[in-house]
C-alpha cells in the first residue's frame, strides 16, 4: 500500500503566473483538486486497506481547507468549469469530497491538536462564520493569538441555515469544533460587537492589534413593490426565511408544524428553495412565488440551481413563476392571502427594476408567508463604527480587504459581498494574509493578484459518461435525513479515474507524493537533431509543444509548465531529438540488458 510523503519534490508549487486545471482556477481557494482526485483514483478497492489512505488524502485536504468536509456536501463550484462538462458530464468532485469527508469526520473528532507556537500579536475576529473561522484558522497557524467574537450561541454563522437534509449536523459541528480545537482559537460566544459595551475601540484597547470583521448578513430584506414596502408584513403568519431556517436549525420548530397549512414562500434564490423544501418537510402545502421566469437562460431567469428546482418539484412544491407581490391580504391580524400581479420584466439595462402587468393578477390563499428575498448587513452598527463611506457603501479595499477608514480593521465575507460559502472562506484567507502583512509593516499589495491560465481539455478518443447521482424517491424523502446517496469506495475510485487530470504536474504531483514517479523532468529537445517536422506537436496530448523558427531553421520547443513528462513526444520523435533527461526507463533497460546477457537462457 502506498503512503503519501511530504518531501520537497512532492509539494505543489505556487507561482505568480501558472496554468491550472479549470476546476482549481474556478475554486476561490484553489483547492488541490486534481492531486486529490488522482490519489482517490489510486486507492485500493478493499475498504479496510483503503481507510488509512483515505485519511491521508483527508489530512492533505484539511491542511489547506479545514472546511472540506462541509464543502463536500454543499459546494461543487468546481464542477461548473470542469473540462469534462461538455464531454460526458463534469467529474462529481463534490461527491468525491463527501466520500473523503465521511471517513474523515470520525478521525477529525479524535485527531490530536497541532502544537503551535503563538508568539505573535493578538488578533480579534468578529463573526464566527466561514470567513471568520478561516481567517482565524490561518492566522493561528501563522502564530497569531486569535479570539473570535460570535454574536450567537454557536459558531458557524450562515452554515446553520443549510437544511439538515443537505448537510448533516454531525458533519457541521465536528468541522467547527475541529477547527477551533486543532489550532487552539479563543472563542467568545454571545458577544455582539458594535452593540453595548463592545466596540472596535474597546477591542483595540484590549490589546488586539488587528480586527477582522465578518459579521455576515443577519438582516432579512423586506418585501417591496415599486418603491414602497408591501403592507401587512407585520401580520401574524408572516415571517422571514433566514429567521425561519435559524429557528428550525435550533430545533425550535416542532415536526409537522405546518401540517394542514398553506405555506407561501416568496423568492427565487437557493435560500427560498431551502425554505420551501424545509416547510414541505414540516407538513405544509407549499408554493414558491418567484419574480423571475422559468427559463434560466434568459436575463430574467430564476437564479436557484437546477437541482434545487428539480428537488422542490419532485417533493410536490408548486412553483409559480413571474409573479410579484403587491399586497398581503389580512383578516383579523392574520395573513390570509397574496395579490400577485404578473411580472413582465425583472432586470433592465440598469439592473433590478421589475415591471408588472396590472391587468393580469392572481390571488393566492395562504396561512403562512415566508419572505426570502435576500438579506443584508447590519448597516447601523457599521455606520457607528465609521466603516462606511459617503455613498453609504463599505469603505474597503477589494484586494487587501483593509478598511479605508480604519487601518487596523479588515472586512470580508458576506458582509462585503454576498456569495458562496467558499467565497467567504477566500475572504478569510485574504484577510489573514493582509493582517500579517499589516502587522509586519510589509507591502500590502505586492504579488497579491495571481494570474492563472486554464489548461484546455486534452485530446482523447474515448470519454466516459458520468455516473448517475441517486436521490431517495420523493415519497420517502419527507424528513431531515440526507436525500442524496454518497459514493461507495468502488464508485469513488471509478469516478476519480474518470478525471482527465488535465492540469499540469506542477500544481498536482500526486504520483510523486506516493512514490509512483521520482521526478517530473520536462521533455528536452536536442536542437542539433530536431528537424522541426512537428510530429511531436501532434503527439502531445496537452498542447505543450510548439514549433519555433530560429537561425538554424525550425525546431520544436516544450512549455515546461504544461509538460507532464509522459514521454509521448520522445517515443514519437523519428530522429531521437527528444529526451526526458535522466529517465528511469533508460536505466532500467540497461539493468535488464545486463541481466539478459548473463542469464543462461537454456536450462540443462
Amino acid at each position: 500500500m502506498w503512503n503519501t510523503v511530504s518531501k520537497g519534490t512532492a509539494a505543489v508549487e505556487r507561482a505568480v503566473k501558472q496554468y491550472l486545471p479549470p476546476c482549481q482556477e474556478q475554486c476561490p481557494i484553489n483547492e488541490d483538486i486534481q492531486r486529490t482526485n488522482v490519489l482517490i483514483s489510486l486507492l485500493p478497492d478493499d475498504p479496510e486497506t483503503a481507510a488509512p489512505a483515505i485519511l491521508q488524502i483527508g489530512d492533505y485536504l484539511y491542511d489547506k481547507n479545514p472546511f472540506f468536509s462541509v464543502c463536500g456536501y454543499v459546494c461543487g463550484l468546481c464542477e461548473l468549469e470542469c473540462n469534462y462538462h461538455a464531454k460526458g458530464g463534469a467529474i462529481k468532485r463534490r461527491l468525491l469530497k463527501r466520500f473523503i469527508s465521511d471517513t474523515y469526520i470520525p478521525h477529525l473528532e479524535t485527531r490530536e491538536e497541532w502544537s503551535l507556537i503563538k508568539h505573535k500579536e493578538n488578533v480579534a475576529i468578529v463573526g464566527g462564520g466561514p470567513a471568520g473561522l478561516m481567517a482565524g484558522f490561518d492566522l493561528s497557524r501563522r502564530g497569531y493569538r486569535v479570539t473570535i467574537f460570535e454574536a450567537s450561541d454557536r459558531l458557524g454563522g450562515a452554515l446553520w441555515l443549510i437544511p439538515r437534509y443537505r448537510l448533516p449536523e454531525r458533519v457541521l459541528t465536528s468541522t467547527l469544533e475541529g477547527m477551533v480545537r486543532m489550532v487552539g482559537m479563543d472563542v467568545r460566544l454571545n458577544t455582539r460587537i458594535g452593540q453595548g459595551k463592545w466596540t472596535l475601540e474597546k477591542l483595540r484597547n484590549e490589546g488586539f492589534k488587528a480586527i477582522f470583521i465578518a459579521q455576515g448578513t443577519p438582516t432579512p430584506r423586506t418585501l417591496t413593490f415599486g418603491r414602497n414596502q408591501v403592507e401587512g408584513q407585520d401580520l401574524s403568519g408572516v415571517m422571514y426565511g433566514q429567521t425561519f431556517l435559524y429557528e428550525v436549525s435550533h430545533g425550535n420548530i416542532r415536526p409537522n408544524y405546518f401540517t394542514g397549512k398553506k405555506v407561501l414562500v416568496i423568492g427565487g434564490g437557493n435560500v427560498a428553495f431551502d425554505v420551501a423544501r424545509t416547510a414541505r418537510r414540516l407538513g405544509g402545502e407549499t408554493s414558491i412565488v418567484a419574480l423571475e421566469c422559468e427559463d434560466k437562460a434568459s436575463r430574467d431567469g430564476i437564479p436557484a440551481d437546477v437541482e434545487e428546482i428539480r428537488g422542490a418539484w419532485e417533493e410536490g412544491i408548486r412553483i409559480i413563476y413571474s409573479r410579484g407581490v403587491e399586497k398581503i391580504i389580512g383578516e383579523s391580524e392574520r395573513m390570509k392571502g397574496l395579490v400577485c400581479p404578473r411580472c413582465v420584466r425583472v432586470y433592465d439595462e440598469k439592473g433590478f427594476n421589475p415591471a408588472f402587468d396590472p391587468a393580469d393578477t392572481l390571488v393566492l390563499d395562504g396561512d403562512v408567508l415566508i419572505v426570502t428575498v435576500g438579506q443584508g448587513p447590519d448597516w447601523t452598527a457599521l455606520q457607528e463604527e465609521g466603516l462606511v463611506d459617503g455613498h453609504g457603501r463599505l469603505a474597503v479595499d477589494p484586494v487587501t480587504l483593509q478598511s479605508r477608514n480604519r487601518k487596523p480593521v479588515f472586512v470580508g465575507g458576506d458582509l462585503r459581498k454576498i456569495g458562496f460559502m467558499v467565497e467567504a472562506m477566500q475572504d478569510g484567507l485574504v484577510a489573514a494574509e493582509s493582517i500579517e502583512r499589516y502587522l509586519q509593516d510589509r507591502d500590502m499589495t505586492e504579488g497579491r493578484k495571481r494570474v492563472f491560465e486554464v489548461q484546455d481539455i486534452p485530446m482523447r478518443r474515448h470519454y466516459l459518461t458520468e455516473p448517475e447521482v441517486v436521490w431517495i424517491p420523493p415519497e420517502k424523502r419527507m424528513h431531515f435525513q440526507l436525500f442524496e446517496r454518497g459514493f461507495t469506495l468502488t464508485e469513488a475510485i471509478e469516478e476519480a479515474r474518470r478525471c482527465l487530470a488535465c492540469g499540469p504536474c506542477i500544481s498536482c504531483k500526486a504520483c510523486v507524493s506516493i512514490g509512483l514517479r521520482d521526478s517530473l523532468n520536462p521533455a528536452e529537445v536536442l536542437t542539433d537533431r530536431c528537424c522541426g517536422c512537428g510530429i511531436c506537436v501532434s503527439a502531445c496530448f496537452y498542447s505543450a509543444i510548439q514549433l519555433k523558427d530560429v537561425d538554424m531553421g525550425r525546431i520544436s520547443l516544450t512549455d515546461a509548465f504544461k509538460c507532464k513528462s509522459c514521454g509521448m513526444c520522445v517515443s514519437s520523435c523519428p530522429s531521437g531529438a527528444r529526451t526526458l533527461g535522466e529517465d528511469a526507463l533508460e536505466a532500467a533497460l540497461m539493468t535488464a540488458a545486463a541481466g539478459l546477457q548473463n542469464s543462461p537462457g537454456a536450462v540443462p
Binding site: 535488464a592 539478459l596 537462457g601
Partner: protein, 132 residues
C-alpha cells in the same frame, strides 16, 4: 523441454501493481520494467531488449479509456502494429510481442500472464538473434 525463454515485461505504473511493492518475479529469466505509461515505449526499446537476448516482450497497458495520460495505451498498440511488421520482415514471429489492456492495481494477474507468455514462447523456441 529443457529450454526456458527469457521475457521482458513492461508494465504501466498507473494501471498495474501500484498498490504492491513489486520486487519483480523471482525467476532469473523474467525482467519486469515498470514504466510511467505504455505509450512511452518506443520500437527502439523493444528491439534493444530482443538484441540483448530476450525471446519475447509482454506489455501490460491500461484498459481502454483509463490511461492517465489520455491514450498512451492506444499509442503503444499503434507502435506494436508497426513493430510486428518489422519483426515479420526479419523473419521473427509476431507472437513474440504481446500487449494486454487491463487494470490490476494489486498486480495479482501479472504472474499468470507471465507464465502464459512463457509457455507460448517456449513453443516458439529460442529467438535466432542472427535475424536481427
Amino acid at each position: 523441454m529443457g529450454y526456458e525463454p527469457k521475457l521482458v515485461c513492461f508494465s504501466c505504473k498507473f494501471g498495474w501493481g501500484y498498490l504492491r511493492d513489486l520486487d519483480g518475479p523471482k525467476e532469473a529469466s523474467v525482467f519486469l520494467i515498470p514504466v510511467e505509461c505504455s505509450g512511452k515505449l518506443d520500437a527502439i526499446h523493444l528491439l534493444k531488449v530482443f538484441k540483448e537476448g530476450a525471446d519475447g516482450v509482454l506489455i501490460l497497458a491500461c484498459e481502454e479509456g483509463h490511461c492517465h495520460f489520455q491514450e498512451g495505451n492506444f499509442r503503444a498498440l499503434k507502435m506494436l502494429y508497426l513493430l510486428e511488421e518489422v519483426l515479420w520482415a526479419h523473419g521473427i514471429q509476431k507472437e513474440r510481442v504481446r500487449i494486454a489492456f487491463s487494470l490490476d492495481p494489486e498486480g495479482r494477474g501479472i504472474p499468470d500472464r507471465i507464465v502464459q507468455m512463457k509457455n507460448s514462447l517456449a513453443a516458439l523456441g529460442p529467438l535466432d538473434r542472427a535475424l536481427l
